[in-house]
């Protein structure tokens, strides 16, 4: 496209720019003017991340031709006004920015609304924010923040915690300021000026063989292309995968396509050249093969093997057996059974995968969004054929992950391109590319059977579940192993048999997604509990309360819960809501024929950390001679807030205020391995490492003064004062000898949760601790149209200790929004829902009122009593909503999402059956 000269008025400043007239304003702002605060999430007007103001009205900058922006006043997040500044402060104080990638768009949309109506009410604010998607927050704190500004607040004080008071305080996230300013740098925001660009050519077929012809004529026809990489160009191993035994996914496919979107070649060159290249110009000849779609097809006799070494397409089996289910069912006064189906669910983080790589001598540096820097380091080293130490991973701000950025995406191929060309290489996935190539939540086919005796005590649970793990292993083994442990739910059940299979298909690749299969299993288990309650004439709360796991109980894996098992307290906390709302619903239904109201209840539990595997974390805190206090924290913050929470823990363990610290996060050259940001493990596992590091440094400091454990520390520049009752000593840090890293004093902590291996029957101690929750959902069902409106969710979560209640609430809000999506609207269909207008996630208008009740049954093994909450937030929501639909209509849902046409059909069948 021909470039023309434009003069744009951006944030009150006249800017001359060369751009193609048809280039979107978003692209021109970001790539030509380097104003990267405007984010691109979809390039199609579906997500609103690129919202800017054009003459004070909000627009998606991805839909505006640069030519049309000329002569208009453009306002971006980089601009400033009193209103925008108040919104920034309110977002910070409320915890309204989690990952921060939607934050600039949200703030711009809010600014447009409040410019028109400075006292806008909730409805007007929701209408204004309705065009911006957020996947982290559930929108609750965003709306609160905007309404706070609309109500005229102009001071937003976040808690300022003094020494020893950080844990439990609602301090603003310490990495929040750049997020509300739009200066936080995500994967696509790093713009090395001399970089080449990379674009993957992907197979449109889910199953095929292919050959690549002579590439020399292609390079000749497209002079801007520098290289076209194929499988043959990979210097090391052309494969990656989570486990040493499952390196089954190629960086570039080697003649075989196993899923739609498998990359067959990588174009490397000038940006214009790789973007303008028509894929049809690449000499790729496909032989399209029949594709296996769905686990049942892949398991059928005679189905071709998707991987030659796995003839039956069963990647992994998981198993747990305790007692004898036959015996358990024999004790039953009631037995319930059912078959349940769930869909592929897309993570739909608003930031598509992006980053860049550059070769530095004989080392490779990859800067990209990720949830697992050290795993990326291992994979990149392997693909390049280099030792791990020759690879540096620099995590960018991560615009949402939820499990989808645990696997490598852009990293290996970027590294190969940068290695071979010697030039920095950038890549930014399109939304469709992100959705096609990234992992999904596993679709599950679950058959389960559950019994209870006449008193409502559960006697047996058995489940068989097949998880469609798609073309590559990814985290399929983890799902297959985690589900048998959790599937029974957080209840005492003496006789259990849970069996799972992860099955390869040619469908989209399934991997890690908030809950690793447990949310799917909970849909089945909680439905059966409602069945049993009905059969026994008990209410749904009492049957759960009577069986709830509590301190001293043994789990189905035989683990005795010695502490912090707060499910009874969670259930007690929602009791009034459940019974009160259920009674109101019944009264409502007596006078309403078309809209039926219902209330549902579901419980969950979730083990923090990896299942029976070592998953250590190591942290370091250093003091320099100038008194700089630095927290070297290898845990990537994907928006959930670990940078803040771990700092709060470290600060209190050391005994200095959190505000004195600088954090260095995630860089593999500068921090130790804290493990993956997954499995709800960072607060618990890395939190313990942070606590130990703080305690270690404190011990060293106190030793300098021979001070007792209660001594008070005061850091003032290079002077560190230690006050121990009437005695005191001041250490001149400048006088101490620094180590090789520049630290004069440093503390380290390493923690690996105590677990044991599971035996063949799944018996052992898979996790050091568990999170628990009970959620009550209230819905209205339009029985004529089959639509469901979730009115309210009350969520009681045992988090051990809420290190930062604002952030814990934010996790729960966001988890509930994702659980709502899982229940009601989200279904990824390869080839059909590869964008954010055909694949629907909840908008601000779909999330109900949410009441969070934090239960703090302290975990003695946890840092200051804390446990994880990231995944627990989501698990109970879908079953609670399904229970509410059933209460409202009598329809027992066995397939999610409950799209209106599915519920309509179920209502019709129920009416026909009389």
């Amino acid at each position: 496209m021909t470039v023309e000269a434009f003069t744009l008025l951006v944030n009150g400043e006249s800017r001359a720019v060369q751009a193609a007239p048809f280039a979107s304003l978003a692209d021109t702002l970001r790539e030509r003017l380097r104003l990267t605060g405007t984010k691109i999430g979809c390039d199609a007007g579906d997500c609103g991340a690129c919202t800017v103001l054009l003459d004070d009205e909000q627009v998606c900058a991805c839909l505006v031709p640069t030519a049309q922006a000329e002569g208009r006043a453009i306002t971006t997040i980089e601009g400033s006004s009193g209103l925008v500044e108040r919104l920034r402060e309110a977002f910070l104080a409320h915890g309204a920015a989690q990952c921060g990638v939607c934050t600039p768009g949200m703030i711009m949309a809010a600014a447009a609304a409040l410019t028109r109506d400075p006292a806008a009410g909730r409805a007007a604010v929701e209408d204004a924010l309705g065009g911006v998607l957020c996947r982290c927050t559930g929108y609750v704190k965003i709306v609160e923040a905007v309404l706070d500004v609309a109500r005229g607040a102009n001071a937003f004080a976040s808690a300022a915690a003094e020494a020893g008071e950080a844990v439990g305080a609602r301090i603003a996230r310490v990495d929040g300021r750049p997020k509300v300013d739009g200066t936080d740098l995500f994967g696509a925001d790093h713009q090395p000026s001399d970089a080449l660009w990379l674009r993957l050519v992907r197979s449109p077929h889910p199953s095929a063989r292919f050959t690549v012809g002579d590439l020399a004529p292609v390079l000749a026809r497209h002079p801007g292309l520098v290289r076209v990489l194929t499988a043959a160009d990979i210097p090391g191993a052309n494969s990656f995968g989570v486990f040493p035994t499952t390196k089954d996914q190629p960086v570039l496919a080697d003649g075989v396509v196993r899923m739609r979107g498998d990359p067959v070649a990588a174009l490397v060159g000038a940006r214009e050249a790789v973007e303008a290249f028509p894929d049809g110009d690449l000499p790729v000849a496909y032989e399209v093969l029949p594709a296996l779609s769905g686990a049942a097809a892949a398991l059928a006799g005679g189905a071709p093997a998707i991987h030659a070494e796995i003839p039956g397409n069963v990647l992994t089996r998981g198993y747990l057996e305790r007692g004898s289910v036959a015996e358990g069912h024999a004790l039953a006064a009631a037995t319930a059974s059912g078959a349940f189906e769930t869909a592929f669910v897309e993570h739909a983080y608003i930031e598509p995968e992006a980053g860049h790589a550059k070769r530095v001598g004989d080392r490779m540096e990859v800067t990209a969004c990720t949830q697992a820097p050290v795993m990326d380091q291992e994979e990149v080293a392997r693909v390049l054929g280099l030792p791990m130490a020759a690879v540096r991973i620099v995590p960018t701000a991560c615009g949402g992950g939820f499990g989808g950025k645990l696997d490598v995406s852009v990293q290996p191929v970027l590294a190969v391109a940068a290695w071979l060309t010697g030039r920095p290489v950038r890549v930014v996935y399109s939304r469709t590319e992100s959705m096609v190539s990234s992992t999904k939540r596993h679709p599950a086919s679950i058959r389960a059977r559950m019994s209870a005796d006449a008193e409502g005590r559960f006697t047996a649970y058995e489940m068989e579940a097949d998880f469609n793990t798609g073309a590559y292993a990814s985290w399929g083994p983890t799902v297959a192993n985690r589900v048998p442990v959790h599937a029974t739910g957080p209840y005492r059940v003496p006789h259990v048999r849970n069996a799972t299979r992860a099955v390869h298909t040619n469908d989209s690749n399934a991997g890690a997604f908030r809950g690793f299969g447990v949310p799917q299993a909970a849909i089945a288990g909680e439905a059966l509990i409602d069945d049993l309650a009905e059969a026994l004439g008990m209410d749904r709360w009492t049957i759960r309360r009577a069986n709830a796991l509590r301190r001293g109980d043994a789990t189905p894996s035989g683990q005795v819960l010695h502490a912090s098992a707060g499910l009874p307290e969670c259930l007690d906390a929602v009791r009034g809501d459940f019974f009160g709302r259920a009674a109101e619903a019944e009264a409502f239904n007596a006078r309403s024929s078309r809209t039926k109201r219902g209330v549902g209840l579901a419980c969950m539990w979730y083990g923090c950390g990896n299942t029976s595997l070592s998953n250590p974390s190591r942290m370091r805190i250093a003091l320099s001679a100038r008194g700089e206090l630095t927290f070297f924290n290898g845990a990537v913050d994907i928006g959930q807030g670990s940078t803040t929470v771990l700092l709060q823990i470290a600060a209190d363990a050391l005994g200095l205020p959190a505000r004195l610290f600088c954090s260095v996060v995630g860089d593999t050259d500068l921090t130790y391995d804290a493990g993956k940001t997954s499995a709800s493990r960072q607060t618990f596992v890395s939190g313990n490492a942070a606590r130990l590091a703080g305690e270690d440094l404190r011990r060293r400091v106190l030793a300098l003064a021979n001070a007792g454990p209660e001594a008070r520390l005061i850091l003032d520049g290079a002077r560190l004062r230690i006050e121990d009752g009437p005695a005191g000593r001041t250490v001149d840090l400048a006088a101490l000898t620094p180590d090789g890293t520049g630290a004069v004093l440093a503390g380290e902590g390493r923690y690996d949760p105590p677990t044991t291996a599971l035996d063949a029957n799944g018996q052992g101690i898979p996790y050091a601790t568990y999170g628990f929750a009970a959620q009550v959902a209230e819905v209205d069902v339009d029985t004529v149209l089959g639509t469901v409106k979730v009115r309210r969710v009350v969520a009681a979560h045992d988090v051990g200790r809420a290190v930062n209640p604002t952030l814990a609430e934010g996790q729960i809000h966001g988890g509930i929004a994702q659980g709502l999506g899982l229940a009601l609207m989200e279904e990824f269909v390869p080839g059909r829902t590869e964008n954010l207008h055909d694949y629907l996630i909840p908008t601000v208008g779909d999330v109900p009122e949410i009441v969070v009740k934090l239960i703090e049954d302290r975990e003695p093994e946890g840092p200051f009593g804390a446990k994880g909450v990231g995944e627990p937030a989501l698990v109970a929501t879908a079953p609670a909503i399904l229970g509410a639909i059933r209460h409202a209509t009598g329809v027992r849902v066995t397939r999610v999402p409950v799209l209106p046409h599915r519920l309509h059909e179920a209502l019709r069948l129920r009416a026909a059956a009389g």
Binding site: F22, G45, Q68
Partner: protein, 286 residues
């Protein structure tokens, strides 16, 4: 690709007459379609004729016996325009299109020209008996009933430009109901627009009803319109019968099944008509 941005209609018509161009106003359909093609390696885009500089196509005007919605008028301009109650449904549709960003950029005429079966403006224009003002080699005024010729196809020829849409000012009130799987940013599963005029006794004098997203082209329901004539508006919803919707031909897609669309369309038509039984203020209070 070339990018034309003329300042007058005459220039625009000259370009349109001589070049194979994609016409763009707000861009809310053009860019997503381009992104979808690019994602699978088809980056080529036609030359573009950007109409946004043609001042004479802007604005919404009262022209005595009709309202003219200029080809560049956005949904937001429609929402903010002082218009008679006949436009209430059209305004409701405008408020439910995309999010505020799309309403601020997308145009009423652009939505019609894209002619998606799920275009929220289209059933409204059918119910309002609108006419399209087409400039080109053979200028014409084409009634909405003849403008939409098929799936994403219209009577606007390759050398033509739609310059505006004309809505006759009649009595009565407009209503619109939309069914989608979420609150904002949602493509309709089905939708109904209606314009109903009543006499002092509350009887239907004239009713025009159209259903969208249930056939390749949104359709009026002439049999129902005829049956409603003379009926008490309070009973209008009860007049709706399956035979009134027999011309619809919905499809199965990722959003809904065909059978569901048929049932939902009937319910939505009844819902839409039921709303005419109450004055608008009472509805808002409810």
């Amino acid at each position: 690709m070339r990018y034309f941005r003329p300042a007058t209609l005459a220039e625009a018509l000259a370009i349109r007459g001589g070049e194979d161009v994609a016409v763009i106003a707000g861009g809310t359909d053009v860019y997503p379609a381009h992104a979808a093609r690019r994602a699978w390696g088809d980056p080529v885009h036609k030359d573009v004729l950007d109409m946004s500089g043609v001042a004479e196509l802007r604005g919404i005007e009262d022209r005595g016996d009709h309202i003219r919605i200029g080809a560049l008028a956005t949904w937001t301009e429609l929402i903010r325009a002082e218009l008679p109650p006949l436009f209430d449904g059209m305004k409701d549709a405008a408020r439910q299109i995309g999010g505020a960003q799309v309403q601020n950029r997308g145009t009423v005429v652009g939505n019609a020209c894209t002619a998606s079966p799920a275009g929220d403006g289209i059933p409204n224009l059918l119910a309002l008996d609108a006419a399209f003002e087409i400039a080109g080699p053979a200028p014409a005024r084409v009634p909405a009933s003849a403008f939409f010729t098929g799936y994403r196809a219209t009577a606007c020829g390759p050398r033509d430009i739609v310059t505006g849409v004309l809505v006759p000012k009649r009595g009565g009130r407009g209503r619109f109901v939309k069914l989608g799987a979420r609150k904002y940013l949602v493509i309709s599963v089905a939708m109904v627009a209606a314009a109903v005029e009543t006499d002092a006794a509350g009887r239907v004098v004239a009713a025009r009803i159209a259903v969208g997203a249930c056939s390749a082209v949104a359709r009026r329901l002439p049999a129902l319109e005829a049956d409603l004539a003379g009926a008490a508006v309070a009973d209008a919803a009860r007049v709706v019968a399956p035979r009134h919707l027999s011309d619809l031909a919905p499809i199965d897609d990722v959003r809904a099944s065909a059978a569901y669309r048929t049932a939902a369309a009937r319910a939505l038509v009844a819902d839409c008509l039921a709303g005419f039984a109450h004055p608008p203020a009472a509805e808002e209070a409810a």
